[in-house]
Structure formats: C-alpha cells, structure tokens
Symmetry: D2
Amino acid sequence: MKNTFGSSVALSVFGESHGAAVGAVLDGMAAGVKVDEHFIRSQLTLRRPAGKISTSRVEEDKFVIESGVYNGRTTGTPICIVIPNENTRSGDYSATRALARPGHADYTAYCKYHGFEDYRGGGHFSGRVTAGVVAAGAIAIAALREKGIYIGTHISRCGGVSDRPFGDMAADIAVVNAKAFAVLDSASEQNMLAAIEAAARDGDSVGGVLETAVTGLPEGVGEPFFDTLESVLAHALFAVPAVKGVEFGSGFALADMRGSAANDPFAIKGGRVTTVTNNNGGINGGITNGMPVIFRCAVKPTPSVSLVQQTVNIMDGTDAELAVRGRHDPCIVHRARVVVDSVVAVALCDMLAMRFGTDWLVNI
Amino acid sequence: MKNTFGSSVALSVFGESHGAAVGAVLDGMAAGVKVDEHFIRSQLTLRRPAGKISTSRVEEDKFVIESGVYNGRTTGTPICIVIPNENTRSGDYSATRALARPGHADYTAYCKYHGFEDYRGGGHFSGRVTAGVVAAGAIAIAALREKGIYIGTHISRCGGVSDRPFGDMAADIAVVNAKAFAVLDSASEQNMLAAIEAAARDGDSVGGVLETAVTGLPEGVGEPFFDTLESVLAHALFAVPAVKGVEFGSGFALADMRGSAANDPFAIKGGRVTTVTNNNGGINGGITNGMPVIFRCAVKPTPSVSLVQQTVNIMDGTDAELAVRGRHDPCIVHRARVVVDSVVAVALCDMLAMRFGTDWLVNI
Amino acid sequence: MKNTFGSSVALSVFGESHGAAVGAVLDGMAAGVKVDEHFIRSQLTLRRPAGKISTSRVEEDKFVIESGVYNGRTTGTPICIVIPNENTRSGDYSATRALARPGHADYTAYCKYHGFEDYRGGGHFSGRVTAGVVAAGAIAIAALREKGIYIGTHISRCGGVSDRPFGDMAADIAVVNAKAFAVLDSASEQNMLAAIEAAARDGDSVGGVLETAVTGLPEGVGEPFFDTLESVLAHALFAVPAVKGVEFGSGFALADMRGSAANDPFAIKGGRVTTVTNNNGGINGGITNGMPVIFRCAVKPTPSVSLVQQTVNIMDGTDAELAVRGRHDPCIVHRARVVVDSVVAVALCDMLAMRFGTDWLVNI
Amino acid sequence: MKNTFGSSVALSVFGESHGAAVGAVLDGMAAGVKVDEHFIRSQLTLRRPAGKISTSRVEEDKFVIESGVYNGRTTGTPICIVIPNENTRSGDYSATRALARPGHADYTAYCKYHGFEDYRGGGHFSGRVTAGVVAAGAIAIAALREKGIYIGTHISRCGGVSDRPFGDMAADIAVVNAKAFAVLDSASEQNMLAAIEAAARDGDSVGGVLETAVTGLPEGVGEPFFDTLESVLAHALFAVPAVKGVEFGSGFALADMRGSAANDPFAIKGGRVTTVTNNNGGINGGITNGMPVIFRCAVKPTPSVSLVQQTVNIMDGTDAELAVRGRHDPCIVHRARVVVDSVVAVALCDMLAMRFGTDWLVNI
C-alpha cells in the first residue's frame, strides 16, 4: 500500500504539483466527529507558503469535501478531500526537465517510473501533496482534542538558531498552536527569520529540527514487536518530505548516557504512575506509559536553491549545470510543522481505534 | 499486524524470554534460496551474550527449522524457526514482579495486558526475542548477498567513544561482518570495551550509535508517499529494542546545513549516475538513487542496572525502590548490530520483491 | 483497511449516493499504461441505468481524473477519479428515513454509525458507489488486455432464464464485451428482458447469476494458504453489492461429483500442459494452472421494490410498513457485470504485480 | 501477506506434510483468554483422519504451545503452536514426483516454485497444514463462546445425501459440536457413510456441502466497501483446501427469487429488531443485522483417488498415467468442518477486535 497509511483509520494521498488537484482520502474515522471547515482552512493556511520567507506561489487552497461528511459530522465512511491546483506555471519546469535537481526526487522518480512520471514541479514528490495530508489531518487533530489529546510542534532549531525546549506542556502546546511561526521563545523567531532571509539573499536555503509533544494519550498504546509506537510514528514521519531523522525522548543523546541516568524513575504523583524524567519520550517497550510522547524530526534544507549546482542530464547521461529557477522557499521547516502534526494525528487515531475500537474517539 | 512486518516478504516473531521458545516465521521468500545453517548459527552467535561484557546467561541458541526449507534451499513457503529456551532461571524475577523496572516495558506491558503478560525476564519484550529475528534474517542477508547487495553495521559510537566513519564501503563492510565487536578502527574497540567495563564496575550500563551501510541496491526502490525507503526501514529499525533514534545520510546534521551544501550534486562516473556527496544517504524522495544507503540508530543504554533505582509497585500503587538483580549486560550495542542487519535485510527483500517480483532474488 | 483492496495495486472507493461525488483512487498501477477516456466512459455507460428496465435516474457519469495520468498514460502514482453526483433528489428519501428498507443496509448502517451515516439514497451503500470502481477498473482492464489477459462476464441466468455456457472462450468474451446486455445467446436476452419487465409490472424485482471467464493468465499466480486466487477474487467479488454467492469452476456442483469425475486430467496440447476438463476453474491449490479462470456470482434481486413490505421504525423501535418510492431498478444483474469485471481486473493486476513486479504490466 | 490472515487478530500458518512440523501463529488475541488444552486436543481429533472412511495415516497430533500462553491464559502476545509430523512415509511419494496428480496443487506449485517446493505428500498444500489452523482456531472458538458467540457447522450434503437444515439454532449448534460426524439428522449419517464407503470400494471419493451458523454476533460488524463480512469470511473460507464455492443466506437460490420474497422483512420481537426470514444470512450491506450468520461451503471430492488417471510428466512434458497410491481419504467433508469453524472464529475475532477494541473479547 504505497500512498496509504494505517489499518483501522487510514489515510491515502494523491495528486501532483501541476496536475488537476491534490487531495486525500481518510477512511475509518469514527462516525459523529465534528468537522470544522474553518479549522481545516486555518491548518491549510499554516502549511501554505506566505510572507517574505516563502515562495511567491500563493494558492488559497480551496478544498472540496467530496464525501464522508454530512450535517457537519463524519459519517464513518471515507472522507475524500480534493484541493484543486490553481496558479500553476508549468512553463517554469519543462525547459529543465532533463536536468535532475540535486536533493530532489527527479532522478529517482525517473528511474522508478521510466520517464512516465509527471515531472512538472516535482509532480507527486512536490511538497504540495502535503496539502491533502493537512486537510485530512485537521479532522484527526480535532477528534483527538475532543478526547483530551493534544499535539504541539515547535521549531526547535532553524538556520542554526535554537528555540527553548518545552516546559509547561499544556501551555506550550497552546502557544505553538496559536502561532504561524511556531516557536516558544519570541526572540528565537526573530533570529531564525534573520537566518532564513540571509540564506535567501545568498540564493540558498536552511533546514531545522521540529520537536513535537503529545499529551493526554492513555497508557498501553503501541504494539510489540513490529508496531511499536516509535515504529508507527516514524513510518509516518519519514513520509513527510525533507525529514531525514527521527528521535524519541532524548534520542541520540541517550547514546552517550549511562543507564542509571537514561532510565526514567517511576513515581506515584496524584495517585497516578508517572516518571520523574522523560528520556524515553513517554514510550517504554514501544508502548505509551502515560507521560507526554516527545519526538524530534530533522528537516533538511529545501533542496531548491538558485545557486548553480552540478548535476547530470538524465536523458543523455552527460554532466551538466543547473540553477533552479521558479518559485521556491528558502525554508520549509515552519511549514512542515503542520504536516507533522497531521500525520501524527492520523497515526494516533489509527492506533487508538485499533486498541479501543472504532467508536472510542466519539464516546459512543 | 502486530508482530509481523512486510507485505511480499514478511517476518513474524513470537516467544517469551522464559517460555518454551522464541522464534520467527519468514514468509514469501523466493523459492531456491540457499539456506546455510552454519551462517545462521554464526549470526546467532553474534547476537548472543558473550565474554566479560555480557550477561552470564549463555545459551547455545540451538535452532530448529520446522518448515519451508527442503534439500538445503527455501521452498517458497513459510520458514518457521524455533529456538528453544534453555537455562532460564525464573526464580530471579518472580520476587520483584510488582516492581516495574525503569526503562523497561514492565509497566507498559502491565497496562496493556492487564497483568496477563508473561512478565518473567521481560517476557515478549526481552531482547531474547530478537534471536528469532536474527535466525530468519540470516536467510535474507544471504539471499541479498547472492544479488550483490551487502549490509554492514559498525559501532559508530559506544560509551562515549567514536569509531572512524565508513571509508571504502566494500572493504569496510567486509571488515565489520568478520568481527564479533564490529568497529572499523581497532583502537576504538579497546576504548569502547574499557568504557563498558567501567560502567559495569559501577553497576551501570552504556549506550551507543550503530551506523549501517547497504551497497548494491538498484535505483528506484522505495515508494511515495507513505512507504518511502526511510519510512519502511525506520519502521523496522524502531522495532529493535533500545533503538530510540534513526537518521539517514547526514540526518540531524542536515538541520544545520544550507541547501547548497546538503544537496548531493549528481555526476556521471563510469557511465553511471552517481552523487558527489551522500548527505541524503542514497535516498531522494524516499527512493534509492544507486548510492550506498546509509543510516544510524541511537541505542539507549541497557535499562537493567544493578544500582538502586526509584520505582513504583504496580500492584498497590506505592513508591518503591529497586535494584535489578539477575543477569544483565552493561552494553547491548555490539549485540544489537546483527539484529539491525537482520530487520534491514528482511525489509529490503520485501521492497525488492514488491518492486521486481518474488523471483527476482533468485534470478529465475 | 475498510474501503481499500489490494497490496501492490490497490483500489480505494469513496462517496455517497446523494453527496457531492463518488469516486476511487487506484494506486500502484505500473507507469506507462495507456489511459483511454473513451473506454472509461463506455464502461461507465455499461454500469449506468438505461432503458425500460432501469431507474429513471439518468446521470451522465462525467468523471474527472484528478491525478496520476499525464500525457495519456499512468504516471505510477495514485490515480484519483471523481464522479460528481448530479440530478439527486434527496426529497425522495428523507420522509422515510426512519423506516429501514428490507434487504438494504439502512438498519445495519444505523447500528454501525449510530445515525451519523448519510442515509440519503443508501448513502455509501448505494450501488452508485460502484461508478468509481468501474472508472478505475477500466484502466486495469485495459492494462490486462495489453498483456493478453481478457475478462468476460455474461448473464448466465436472470429472472429464471438461462443463457448458454461459455464455448469458444476468446470469441465469447469478445461477444459479451461488445454487448450492453451481456448474454451469449440472443434468445436469452429477449426472455430475460421479458421476465424483468414482468417483475417490474408487479412492482417487484429479479436476480440472477453472472459467469466470468479470464483467459491469458500465466501459471503460478495465487498464494497458499490465505491468499489463494479464490480467496482474493472472492474477497473482491463479495464487495460488489448484491453478490451473495461465489463459486469457482463447477463450484457447488462439485459437491455431488466423485473425485474421478471432478479431477481435471492433465494433457499435453500444443506443447503446453493443459487440462482436459476445467471443473476446478483454472485453479489448483489456489494457484492458476494456465487454463481459463471461471467463476460465477449469485446476484440477489434488487431489494428496492414498490410492493408494501413489513419493516420497523428504527427511531422508535416499532413495527411499520413501507413501500419504497423513488427511482429503482427491477434488475441490476446486467449492470453488475461491469462492476464484477472491474474488481476482478484490479485484483488480478495486484496479484500479477506481487508475483512479477510492478513493471510487468508494461513490459519494461 | 501470503500465509497470514487478519489485521488486529491475525493467523499465520506454516509447515509441510512431510517436513518437521506444521503449525500456526495466532497474534493479537486479547490477553486473559482461557486456553484449554483438552479442547484444542478434541478439536484436533475432529480434524484427524479416523475410522473406516479415512486414511490409515493416524497421527496423534501432539501439539506444543511455544509461546503466548502463561498460567493457562493468553498473554496478548503471539501464540505459536507447533505440531510435529510423525509417521511420515516419504517413500510413498518420491517415485511419482514427476507425475502431477490431477486436482492437486502439484503442477501449480511446480510452476510457482520452479521445482524447489517440498513436493512430498503435497508439501505445504497438504490438508495436514490445517492442523495448525485448527489448534489456533480452538482458542478463538473458545474465546467467542465466552462472549456468547457460537459457531456450528453441519454436513449439509455429502455423497449425494442431504442432512436436514438448521432449525432451533442454539440446540442444533450444540448437537453438531458434540458429534464427530456432524449431521443434524442421524439417518443422514448412515446414508452418507454408506455413500462414502461405496466410493471407497470403487477407489473413488465424494464431496459435499458444509453449512455453518453463527449466533450471538452483535449488530454492526462488517465494513463497506471491500471488507464486507461476506468478503472477509469468504477470503478465509476459500483458503480451506477443497472449498470451491461459498454462499451466504439463500445464496445461489436468491438468483431465482423475486425481491419481495428475498428481502427479509424486519419485525420487533422481544424489544429487538429481527428479521422474519433470513435469506440474507444475517448480513445486509456487508454488515451484521443481529440475526444468525448463515453460509455454505462447497467441498470438492478428495482429489486423491486410486483409479487410474490421465496426467502429464511435468519434468519431461509428456503425457502419462497415474494411480495415486499411499494413504488417502474417500471423503474429507466431515474433517473440513472443524477447519471451517476455525478460520471463521479467527476472522470473527479479528473483525470484533477491529470494531470494539482488542480487549472486548475479555470484558476488561
């Protein structure tokens, strides 16, 4: 199942950057979940390029819910959302079709699809495909909130600038979810924006790290051996374009710790089992322990840069040079945030439905 | 599918640390693959605790191939391998059943299985379950080698000591696959062993980082959107106990790079498309580009330490203290290596069979 | 995966009878398959109600290919086809919302979705959802034909009237695929139509049996134990609304045969292994043997009849009476034919891709 | 996933007739289900050849539960059951290796596995593989009974002799489950046995029809579009060797009925919604309606007959003759009954767990 993720709640994506539309089908969501089109729109806006630091291609991301919603609630049957492509300028791309853009999927798509791929603007490999993910994900995010499960992602690092770590989880998640540029410390935003603009001036781009917290998950979610919560979330996260690393809890820093420091001691707090530290990111043996689930994604710098790059002509197998023209972002870290939240929400809805049944999300 | 991984080639695991046996079923492997029991045995030996730095529980890991192999070759039907448990000392564990070991799955398994779990020695969450993975994985590793695809994993870091990075891929993979303690630089081994022994003397443990290279993979393997090669490999890798982070290519270091440096320029070399650098770890857009696939796993320090730890009594909900007794390793990084190779081999066999058909592995 | 079928080539459906649209996503189809919109249209026409014996709701089934097709060929990425609903008259249904139509899914959908289902016109359970299946299936049917694999279905029985069985496979498949009312013997058509019209005059409906032949399949397709070709095809066939029985080869008639008669003797013919009879429908042990694959589907009579029926009010739990008003067909057997062909084509594309690789369908 | 069935509760089978063992892995079953080894043994006995009408190969089917059961209850982790093969006489088969037995999988397995298959006694295609299914199925059957869900299968027809249909469901299910030769009418047994013995005297074999009833299922189980209850059950049923037809409710007889007769009128009875008739077999729109689920399987006559048959030599491609020697049954209908119950039980546990959560089966 190539473009589909999930077992009980499943998300399928379709679409190409310069085709008729992009979109998604969300199947298996409980019947009776409220669908708020304003929230879908606001999530799409967070994903959309905007402002000085983003591409000049501005689409309004008008979406059409083709199925699965009736009287403002999910029906329990598949929800198809189509987002028409507008304002596409294919002329930008056809001239350089033969020149594989370094860091992009042009060459690998050519190998895989033998030249039949829709190469315009990256086709199915364009970040634009994530619009469908975000629209469907908004329904999953809202459903989880009704159950007291909150997801928040901040830009932990961008262009070499760090944000402060999560502190008070509930408050910090609320803070980042209210922001277009999701940082916890406002000073970070200024410094990150400055770094992004500096790269843009150089015809270059920057990457970063997104850190996500999920609160309110019940204990006991996740499966041995192959469907650990880490496995399932990482599967979804590595589908997000540009993500090249995922770590849970203290992640790679655990490699240099001793067991006595890395282990999270258990303690009774308010009558509940908690851990004193959270180096394991709320997951032991692949299963939630009731603490916040914490993870980080490394987002590589946008591969589209206007600097001249060395490449090959995939048609005739010769060396070549390329300066990527057309619209592109010097940074997508801030935009990827809402894509991360979306795939995580769908993955969690799936795991919760598998564990507690399809109606659990709606308290029936 | 909880304990099963893969679509065309699928691996299922079963077993508990102190039950009758552990084992695995490998289904969908092409018919006609040579099965070398000596190689299976040698792989199991690499996984097995041994020497000063490992637990004193030494089992010979006798395995029985119950099905799927005839006349020394795979038949195409499921291969079930059973590895009986011997030398189990359940008495070690029952006394402390109520005290959840920090960093282990005791508490989460209790939440999930309501006390019906086989808690002895960690039960199904014990590292012992990986013996079945390694036995089945050996068949997959050997099949890939016949096709010129080689997997090699070295201990990139352990106990705060770094090994040198991969250089000449073919040579270095051969080197690490010939070693019980898989480092590229012999000096690293001495320093790592010293760090491990120091931790052991303190009743503590250490973690590390495993770095893996895969050579010989054809271009065009991996799927958009949700079954990128990164997604599928990370899914398998996070199933390996103690893995808390996975990164491809330059991984988290990409977050601080600019696009012009992170992008891997293409170049024709020997008539083939190659990349000059390999920051993307041989994967663009989730699909192989023909360069070596490179990734790293963060392995947390063994949670079993003999130091006194704070915990809770999960039976009566009170705070408690615990010193983990019984056999345990001050380090499992060197043992996890062969488990990583095994799950990667199975995942690759699956993706290759999905792409090129079930017979591709045997050239029929 | 509720509304999705297949592993390598997968079909997802969405939509409700009176919502915005119905449609389907076909993922995993090889890149480079020719997409003929005329053929899709003609297949949709075969499914569409038409003439005296069908409902007066006539929609043109305009379809939009939203993705996955470029320059007239598949790109290898998901093909989303949306078929907008037009000419819906919801007023027909709302008045009787509480009265579950016998033989329909009204009551079971209510139980499952707790009243949140889109009940208008049967919602997601309407036969209209099969339009998406047929549109996507047309691409699969055409792809198989390029490989010499032909599917033909005739109305073996309808309203108590029998058609002649398949004789010359190649010729008969061509005959039925050229007909709107797919019978092999023209006299059968007249008698069946008379039976249908008689039922219509009585405010009643009729059922029938569809018989399908598939020629050109290579030997060795199908999997033990759980993915036999019969299992996979039956899974797809029982998804077709109104199908209540599926049999392969001589099917239920085998129950009364002796082994010596039921076994199909092997014989060399033209240098190839063939069978003298085909009681097993081209499948031994769940795997194709190179003979035509033959199966039959029992299609129950359309549950919508205008006669007064006994039912219950699902809102207040009382007994009630119901005469189904609005548009409905006295027979859907002739329309179900193309749905059967479509799901079979997708299932076969999937099994062939799993067996021989994703490019096999396009000879690359 | 070739030899695995199910999503939340999944069954994998392995083994060959003359290899070391056959067996199964049942994963995802709720923790806390009582495992009664006596019941497993009694179910295995029902499957085992016995008496005058069965093969002289008598194995005691000693089984070993390798994992997943602790203190007499399921642990929630995979249950592996191994059934060693004993009393195998491979010499019976090797001489005729090249001669494909008509009606068997010898030829198709050869095509699929290129001669690497374990051909002895049918290898993985032998009915013996169903022993693992039955052992694992016994656990699922027992779990369902604890929830008030009962499965009963009788031999509706065998050797041309019919049994009476189900009448009082609860009583009749109890009756058939207490019998080794599962008929409702004792006179049927004598006549069926006489027919079987007559075929045996002729060196021939007979087939039959199994009819199954499932009571106690809640409403709302089953999924549109592709995972209808009929689709999922048929998928499992067609995996049972020799099953060539499956029909639900009145099945193929519905093809000749009118809608007014085929529709099952709803009526309130004892405060519950029921149907007056049950032509739809307890399933509307692919979803349970609370009535007993009823279906029938056509079982073809055992292909092993001692009469001389026409066949081919698959090694040299010449015509040949064959008289199957060795042990074989003149009838397997009575033995297939418990295999049908087993796959149905696993499929239902899976669908119930998907619908209501993994703990539903144990009331936690």
